[in-house]
Point group: C2
């Protein structure tokens, strides 16, 4: 059994447990996860029996790529009848009641659901987002291999950028060096993100007060960006000496992302910023000591909050004032905002195969952001660090 | 009255005509269009009176950027009461009936609509996508100015790439040169796209058979891509002499995109491919002669189909076989897939202010794709070509 059919089998197990008759998968990343192909169509996974990927285009390409049986979708108008025909016993069993099918409500546009409702009137749709995200939360050895490779590439790009960094260089210029490097190494051009309205290309670079500017972006440091039409990440601000340069970058190699942050300074950093940076390292070291199967995710966040509080840095932790974000880390994989989240209300226990970016950071308005971020795979006995860049404040 | 308040006024006019009480706008690009800010929140536009942008984050930044009144969203749980309080007369008038509010069903995830339904039980939601897309279809002089600027930049990037192009260079390498150039000139990193599951970074480069590979992407030439996890655009295939190199690129400057295609060859092209290329130019010249206010969009597509048929090139037009796409062009602006579409069923008449990318192309399986694409602003008397790159088959 290959990885994709095993993933489908695990989904079916959960569908049966939840008394859901099947799942209709449509989002490109989820399709890739379950079939190995990102062509456009509908993957139908019944709670028992064979899944079929009904492909709109390109059928030829899906047939080459997919581990799951591919059929041409044909006319969408007759998709309901088609499905009832292929899954006769399922639809027959449901004669006396509506079928319960799950779909990805977190990403599926309302129009798309209404189209499905129109051709499948006998279905009650339920939200399958969490179900799918929880399956994707536990990575296989192969998936961790891809993330490890992305970690290797981003480190090379980072070191290359450090070689090129000079006072007066624009944030955008430095970001462009990194993007060019990772792109040639196979970065697909963006880091995919599941959240509505969220965009991330290759992360962010922010120097001095530009890094500390609040943004819509759901992270502790969004950056100034190029204009209100792109109000996050690198700006055209020149990088100066003796200010913190936050380099929070990643790339997407063969579909999988890595996420890492380092703090750099050309010259020296003010004493309080240096201490805050060092405290971010103390937090990450202390959190590492708890990165073991069984640890509850929200406890890691609460522990970091407590450490920031004890150091008198609460107000600066993970953003400033109204714009603080309330998490310490997040799962990564095919998308940058996966489960688990290290935040209040997330009671997941760490398990082998989870991959988590942990990013304690401190924001000083008008002055900058300092901090560190590593990505970790949870193992049977602890963790493997997948980000391999040198740590410590990097002084040039 | 500035552009944003004028846009809101036009939306209100349409809401009144359609007897819709208001519109709730949540998508980042639509928020930017109506407010001038892309921060996260809910823009509520009543069919009469003042619109308010209820911002989740960042309020500070939205206040700096937005032309529309900004208020802090506060707790989402009490958003319903808040709205009823701010828009007392509207909600009061609706006491005896449900309010009819529009939302962007084409992009709004089901979960987001359900959240709104939970806090606003007195509302019937209707699809406002078309309404908004039709308003955005007609660009102001300022918007056309941004697209013109993006056209200027993409031409410089294109000429720079031609200087660097050598036999043996990978498609990805050539694409990376273009991306580096446009990024430094202010490209935001992606070209935004509204369609579900559609992604475009800086367009595509495809040489020989790689360009002709069918893809999920809703365009005539998707390209091979890097792997099944990114199955479109440039691949790692080396570019050879005497094969068609399709360079279909764009960039996004200050939020607005440009889209252009040129066909390049190192050496010479086979006679039939050359003739097909020349026919694509004949089509675009003939279509240009009809680019006038009043022309019906679908007629332009039907006219081009007829020309391809007469030339004996029907099978190759806009893709090949099952993977042909059924349009000649598409609106561009803040997104790459705007209205109008030049396709069957689109009965819009051309109007001054529309900006349309027109892209007749011919696909030859195993051999490549040839064609041309320009972007045009419709004027009172005809058009302005916003893509300024030299035309004709470019032989190096």
């Amino acid at each position: 059994m290959n990885e994709h059919t095993e993933r489908v089998r695990r989904l079916q197990e959960r569908l049966l447990q939840l008394q859901i008759d099947g799942c209709m998968i449509t989002q490109n990343v989820d399709l890739y996860y379950f079939t190995g192909s990102m062509q456009t169509g509908y993957l139908f996974v019944p709670n028992e029996g064979e899944a079929v990927f009904f492909v709109r285009r390109s059928v030829v390409r899906a047939e080459q790529e997919s581990s799951i049986t591919v059929e041409s979708l044909g006319s969408f108008r007759s998709f309901g009848e088609r499905l009832a025909d292929v899954y006769r016993s399922l639809f027959h069993a449901a004669h006396s009641r509506n079928l319960r099918l799950a779909a990805e409500f977190d990403v599926l546009p309302v129009q798309q659901l209404k189209r499905l409702e129109a051709v499948l009137p006998q279905v009650d749709w339920v939200d399958g987002s969490l179900l799918i995200r929880e399956l994707r939360m536990i990575k296989s050895a192969a998936e961790i291999g891809y993330i490890r490779e992305a970690g290797r590439v981003i480190n090379l790009a980072f070191e290359d950028a450090l070689d090129k960094l000079r006072p007066g260089m624009l944030e955008l210029e430095l970001m462009s060096h990194i993007e060019t490097y990772v792109r040639r190494a196979g970065h697909i051009g963006i880091m995919r993100m599941r959240g509505y309205n969220q965009e991330v290309i290759t992360g962010m670079i922010g120097a001095g007060e530009a890094a500390a500017m609040p943004t819509y972006f759901d992270g502790p440091a969004g950056g100034q960006g190029l204009s209100p039409a792109s109000p996050q990440s690198a700006s055209r601000r020149p990088i100066a000496a003796n200010e913190p340069i936050l380099i929070d970058i990643g790339c997407c190699i063969d579909g999988y992302v890595i996420d890492q942050t380092r703090t750099v300074v050309i010259g020296t950093l003010a004493e309080d910023l240096l201490q805050a940076y060092e405290h971010s390292e103390q937090i990450i070291r202390s959190v590492e000591s708890k990165l073991l199967p069984g640890t509850v995710c929200e406890q890691l966040y609460m522990h970091s909050l407590q450490m920031a509080y004890t150091a008198g840095l609460s107000d600066h932790y993970m953003g400033y004032g109204d714009d603080q974000v309330k998490f310490l880390g997040h799962g990564i994989g095919l998308e940058i905002d996966e489960l688990p989240v290290l935040a209040k209300g997330f009671s997941y226990r760490l398990q082998p195969g989870m991959v988590i970016a942990i990013e304690p950071k401190f924001t000083f308005p008008q002055r900058g952001v300092v901090g560190i971020e590593n990505s970790y795979a949870i193992t049977d006995t602890g963790f493997e660090k997948l980000t391999v860049s040198r740590e410590g404040l990097i002084q040039l």
